[in-house]
């Protein structure tokens, strides 16, 4: 299986349901996603589109009422869905790690940074001073000045941007193969956002890991990622190289999303574009395409038939896929 060696993560036909009082809620449906080695893949989509469910299934820390109904999640050639809990535990934090949105609630406020950074190396057989040295080196890599003495400080003694850089340092300390970043820049302002993005790019190339980057800031995705995945209501509607997807979006949802970005509207307006309508109820799915109710280009067949995934570019090395009837014509 050569596929598994090219891709750090390879998800096929993944569907996840949540059991709720109103019946089963189909949070993810038939998701196919590859994260190639050394690439940064961005995921965009509105809240409730299944981004968090996707993450929880990759790290296999799912809610109690979640049920995987179909699919495989291959990580470095092994299926995470059939893996033993012990094996999974040894992967988490070691081969894959995660950076969350809010650094303040990621870091423990009553322990020093140094203590926390050494603690998470518990699997390592090295001496404590060696571990400490490693942590200091990692802090230096994320641009924290005077790292050795700052290890003795508590989280509140750092600014928001520094805290986020510390969480990134902690996540990358074990040199994982995959870093999952869940909206790591949402809580930061523009100048710090750019700092974090530049730093992630640098670290990614020096460590050689892959990054799954979740965000709803389109500009950040455009700047950081190689590939982008657009999700809507639990399905992937479009995916491909960032330059291609953002330059010539094929799915009506992607097109609308890009139109709505206030940054892309050059002229000052008091009436910003929006996407009409609401996300469909995931426990009572429409028969046809999931985006039909809000689509400005819908035809009769969209209401009845589920669209299939089509390659937009035939034969190109970098594939651009879209799930829409209009593209199959």
């Amino acid at each position: 299986m050569s596929k598994a060696t090219d891709n750090v993560l390879s998800i096929r036909n993944l569907s996840i349901d949540y059991a709720t009082q109103e019946g089963s809620l189909k949070a993810l449906r038939n998701v196919d996603l590859d994260i190639p080695k050394g690439q940064i893949v961005g995921v965009v989509g509105e809240s409730g589109c299944g981004k968090s469910t996707l993450i929880s299934s990759i790290i296999q820390l799912m809610a109690n009422n979640a049920k995987t109904t179909s699919g495989t999640v291959f990580f470095e050639g092994e299926d995470l869905l059939t893996m033993s809990p012990t094996k999974l535990k040894s992967l988490r934090g070691q081969r894959m790690s995660i950076v969350f949105q809010d650094p303040m609630s990621t870091l423990n406020p009553v322990l020093t940074i140094g203590k926390q950074m050494v603690d998470i190396q518990y699997r390592d057989k090295r001496s404590k001073s060696q571990k400490r040295q490693r942590s200091a080196d990692m802090l230096a890599q994320v641009g924290i000045p005077d790292p050795a003495s700052r290890l003795n400080q508590y989280p509140h003694e750092f600014s928001g941007g520094m805290q986020q850089r510390i969480s990134i340092a902690m996540a990358l300390q074990a040199q994982p193969a995959l870093l999952i970043a869940d909206e790591p820049t949402t809580a930061l302002d523009a100048t710090l956002e750019v700092q974090i993005i530049d730093m992630l790019k640098e670290l990614q190339s020096s460590i050689g890991c892959s990054i799954l980057f979740i965000s709803h800031h389109l500009g950040v995705i455009a700047e950081l990622c190689n590939q982008v995945v657009v999700m809507y209501a639990g399905e992937i509607v479009e995916q491909g190289p960032v330059s291609r997807v953002f330059k010539s979006p094929k799915h009506p949802y992607t097109q609308k999303l890009l139109e709505c970005d206030p940054a892309s509207i050059a002229k000052k307006t008091r009436n910003l574009p929006t996407i009409e309508g609401e996300i469909p109820n995931l426990s009572d799915l429409p028969a046809g395409c999931i985006f039909t109710s809000r689509c400005h280009k819908k035809t009769a067949q969209c209401e009845e038939l589920k669209p299939k995934r089509h390659a937009v570019t035939q034969g190109a090395t970098e594939k651009h896929f879209v799930t829409c009837h209009l593209e199959s014509l």
């Binding site: 928001g160 949402t186 008091r270 929006t274």
Partner: protein
């Protein structure tokens, strides 16, 4: 347009040490200035936006303006009366004319209160018992584009965008002259963000209410605001008409903020200016110009002498020795 709010040299302090500790450590003041010497005006029917990084004092300034925080010095004039000198009774009347939209929409609604009760609660607080609450709730929900069915919902049954709308409805209950909106679109998707901003714009056109919007999203500022102020370490570094600031920013910090804005298309993007170093602590403010530690254009003078505001006319000013 007549003047609605005028803030002069406002200073808000927080105590960070006991008097004893500061006396023992000699000379160190037990206070930090979260907002220092801030002056601005908001006209009737105008939108004023405040931009700055987290920790720069935006929310503190908003809370002080609404009268929720004591001020150390300076004045806040609302239609001719100084809010900082008001006795409690008058302050209550003042708060009827000014309302707040909080940063966390679901968190600012009581989880045990139905939407209808939440948005008519201001009537109860201000003893306006003559109003028909059912009728008012319907009217307010209608104003923000929600159906009357929402009256019976609880906050956990609302989506982020709906909770924002409820926040707007509650802010509108007493027909205020000024709405203070703290990060009105934080955490919303671009489409829902557009809906909320359109709603605020429409209400302003229909009702003539003034808006004081706090945000760190520069992309939306351009579309909604008439005037903008950029805040750094509790001070305004630049203030002026929004259009002018976006076309020709004078302060290096504004320039850095605008150039750092990641965009999908690179059309019209400025050459990126990287800021070095970290945001200084409020406990140890840098000497001279407080931005000189991170400023790419800083010169000797900046480290020693604090710059004064330069007036470019048209109510446009920047605080810098070497404005761009």
């Amino acid at each position: 347009m007549s003047q609605l709010l005028e803030v002069n040299n406002l200073r808000v302090q927080f105590r960070v040490k006991s008097s004893m500790a500061s006396w023992l450590q000699k000379s160190e003041s037990p206070f930090i200035d979260a907002v220092r010497d801030v002056s601005f005006k908001i006209k009737e029917g105008e939108t004023f936006t405040l931009v700055g990084e987290s920790g720069s004092g935006k929310s503190t300034l908003a809370n002080a303006v609404v009268g929720l925080l004591p001020t150390a010095s300076g004045s806040i004039n609302f239609m001719g009366d100084d809010v900082t000198q008001m006795p409690d009774k008058q302050l209550m009347a003042y708060r009827k004319q000014i309302s707040m939209m909080w940063q966390n929409p679901t968190g600012s609604l009581s989880p045990r209160m139905q939407v209808g009760d939440a948005i008519t609660e201001p009537y109860k607080i201000h003893n306006l018992s003559d109003r028909d609450k059912q009728q008012e709730a319907k009217r307010l929900l209608n104003l923000v584009g929600l159906s009357a069915r929402f009256q019976d919902r609880y906050p956990h049954q609302l989506s982020g965008g709906q909770a924002r709308r409820v926040g707007v409805a509650r802010a509108l209950a007493l027909n205020p002259k000024l709405i203070v909106a703290d990060e009105p679109t934080a955490g919303l998707d671009v489409s829902v963000q557009g809906e909320i901003l359109n709603l605020l714009n429409r209400l302003q056109d229909d009702l003539g209410v003034s808006l004081f919007v706090i945000t760190h999203n520069l992309n939306i500022v351009r579309h909604i605001s008439d005037r903008t102020a950029i805040m750094y370490l509790g001070r305004f570094v630049e203030e002026g008409p929004t259009d002018d600031i976006f076309v020709n920013p004078h302060h290096p910090y504004t320039l850095a903020l605008l150039s750092a804005n990641p965009e999908v298309t690179n059309v019209g993007a400025l050459e990126r200016i990287a800021l070095k170093g970290e945001v200084p602590s409020l406990m140890h403010r840098p000497s001279g110009c407080e931005f000189h530690t991170r400023c790419p254009f800083a010169q000797e003078l900046c480290a020693t002498v604090a710059p004064v505001g330069i007036d470019f006319g048209f109510e446009y000013s920047a605080t810098c020795h070497y404005p761009r």
